[in-house]
């Protein structure tokens, strides 16, 4: 047996289709997940024990269960309430749920890491909590958010492979199809691995640019300590 990439010639459109769906599903899950994550984080910061308990349960539930089980629970659970949705939609929602728990923790931690006086001074002058968040807190945490959010987005994009098990025709699903037709698993999975690698590299580069842009606005304003800067940033430094 020898390595023969030629077997892929007939099947590359299928793999591209799968890759495109992986990108779409991940992008949608990122958007939905981030919005949900911000909402959960903000609720968690409302004073009182109830909001913290509810959001804590939400986050812990999603974090303590393997992603594939979350997918199965949602996919096989919905029909119990008579809801039948396309697998791709269910898969995207499951992925968004999963990511939202981690995004929520990232956002919450970033807000809590900001000195309390920042929010308080905005409130004391008469800003509403929403205005204080928008004008004072949000601009200061943007840069802190980028690196951990990127890590989570990469993890989530890779976890989307699990959706193949509920017949979402994304990249992994298509690779299994191609592999079944060609009986050339190594060639197929090597090709698929490269495609995943490429998608991840693009996300990482986009994030690096984003961090630089947000950073340029902020660098003048907030100087972090140099060690923290080195380890919290994805932008490569010279020294």
């Amino acid at each position: 047996m020898k390595f023969d990439p030629a077997v892929l010639v007939d099947y590359w459109p299928l793999l591209l289709q799968g890759a495109w769906l992986t990108i779409q599903v991940s992008a949608a899950a990122m958007l939905i997940g981030y919005v949900a994550g911000i909402v959960v984080a903000l609720i968690a910061l409302v004073p009182g024990w109830l909001p913290r308990l509810v959001t804590g349960l939400y986050v812990e539930t999603l974090r303590n269960i393997p992603f594939i089980i979350i997918v199965f629970v949602v996919y096989y659970g919905l029909p119990f309430w008579g809801i039948r949705l396309p697998a791709t939609l269910v898969g995207t929602v499951a992925l968004a749920l999963f990511a939202s728990a981690y995004y929520a923790e990232i956002v919450r931690a970033a807000i809590l890491a900001l000195p309390r006086g920042q929010f308080e001074s905005a409130r004391a002058i008469g800003m509403s909590p929403a205005s204080a968040m928008w004008h004072v807190v949000a601009p200061q945490i943007l840069r802190t958010l980028v690196p951990p959010s990127t890590n989570m987005t990469l993890t989530m994009m890779k976890e989307s492979a699990v959706l193949s098990s509920i017949t979402v025709p994304e990249l992994t699903y298509q690779s299994l199809v191609v592999q079944g037709n060609t009986f050339a698993p190594f060639e197929v999975f090597a090709a698929v691995a490269s495609i995943y690698w490429l998608i991840a590299a693009v996300i990482a580069e986009a994030s690096r640019r984003l961090e630089r842009r947000v950073g340029a606005v902020q660098a003048e304003a907030v100087s972090r300590n140099r060690i923290a800067d080195r380890y919290l940033s994805l932008v490569a430094r010279k020294n």
């Binding site: 920042q118 001074s121 004391a124 002058i125 205005s131 200061q140 907030v222």
Partner: protein, 270 residues
């Protein structure tokens, strides 16, 4: 003296997990007065300021600013009603506070620090807000520092930006939390000058400090606080010359002794 005080605090009580931080505090500050609130660490001075801005919710008692209730109000028939968040936020610009650590917003220039809340809270047009900001910062000697971010300002300059930020809301009352403690000792004279110039404009002020010399040279009246209660309150001269309350006598003796052996920061009046 006008009948309605700018600040009227009555029966204000605050407990933290069973520890009483404020114990039935009564305090009136009249228009144009500077009242210094002195007392040992942990006596409740800062808690009082936090309650006056409703950053801390007092458990009991009432606050009135320029005759209007803040936070909690007495309804006809003796019912006590908690104000809504909107009502409280609407009252907040009336009480300007300058925090010990200033809490300027580091992502904005000095001018934007002063301008932004005018736009967001008072709904002023940006042009008008900017004009007001420039005027205030110029008055406070920061005309050439307006485009700087807070990290590029000295401690004293930061404090003056924080003062301008609060003044821009046209408050009825200004609160200062330990205005000398975050600055170098040699700047105490500068702080004193800034607060005095504010006083000349007729601003009413409540200044929390533990520096007796600073309080004595600035304030019209001094209130002494210990264990969450205001134990003695009166004209600054009387309080310094003839304290009646034994704990205040003790406190003054201690501080004066500290100063003789050079333990507290320099006093500009000496």
């Amino acid at each position: 003296m006008s009948a309605t005080p700018v600040l009227r605090v009555s029966n204000l009580t605050k407990r933290f997990h069973g520890v009483t931080a404020l114990d039935q505090v009564y305090l009136d500050v009249h228009a144009g007065q500077i009242v210094a609130l002195i007392g040992p660490s942990g006596c409740g001075k800062s808690t009082l300021l936090r309650c006056l801005t409703w950053l801390e919710q007092p458990d009991d008692g009432f606050i009135e600013v320029a005759g209007k209730p803040l936070g909690r109000e007495l309804m006809p028939g003796g019912v006590v009603r908690r104000q809504s968040r909107r009502q409280i936020d609407a009252m907040r610009p009336q009480v300007g506070i300058v925090f010990q650590q200033f809490h300027l917003w580091p992502h904005m220039t000095a001018l934007e620090n002063v301008v932004r809340s005018q736009i967001v809270v008072l709904g002023r047009p940006r042009l008008e807000a900017t004009e007001r900001g420039v005027e205030l910062l110029t008055r406070l000697g920061l005309a050439d520092r307006m485009d700087r971010h807070p990290h590029a300002l000295s401690g004293g300059q930061k404090q003056r930006v924080a003062i301008a930020r609060a003044l821009a809301m046209d408050p009825a009352l200004m609160l200062f939390d330990e205005p000398t403690s975050a600055l170098d000792p040699e700047l105490v004279g500068e702080v004193l000058a800034v607060l005095r110039s504010l006083a000349e404009t007729g601003m009413t002020m409540l200044v929390v400090t533990h520096e007796i010399g600073f309080a004595a040279s600035l304030a019209d009246r001094i209130a002494f606080m210990d264990h969450g209660r205001i134990l003695e309150e009166g004209p600054a001269r009387d309080i310094m010359a003839a304290p009646k309350e034994p704990r205040l006598q003790n406190f003054l003796d201690l501080v004066r002794f500290d100063r003789r052996i050079g333990r507290t920061t320099a006093n500009p009046t000496e």
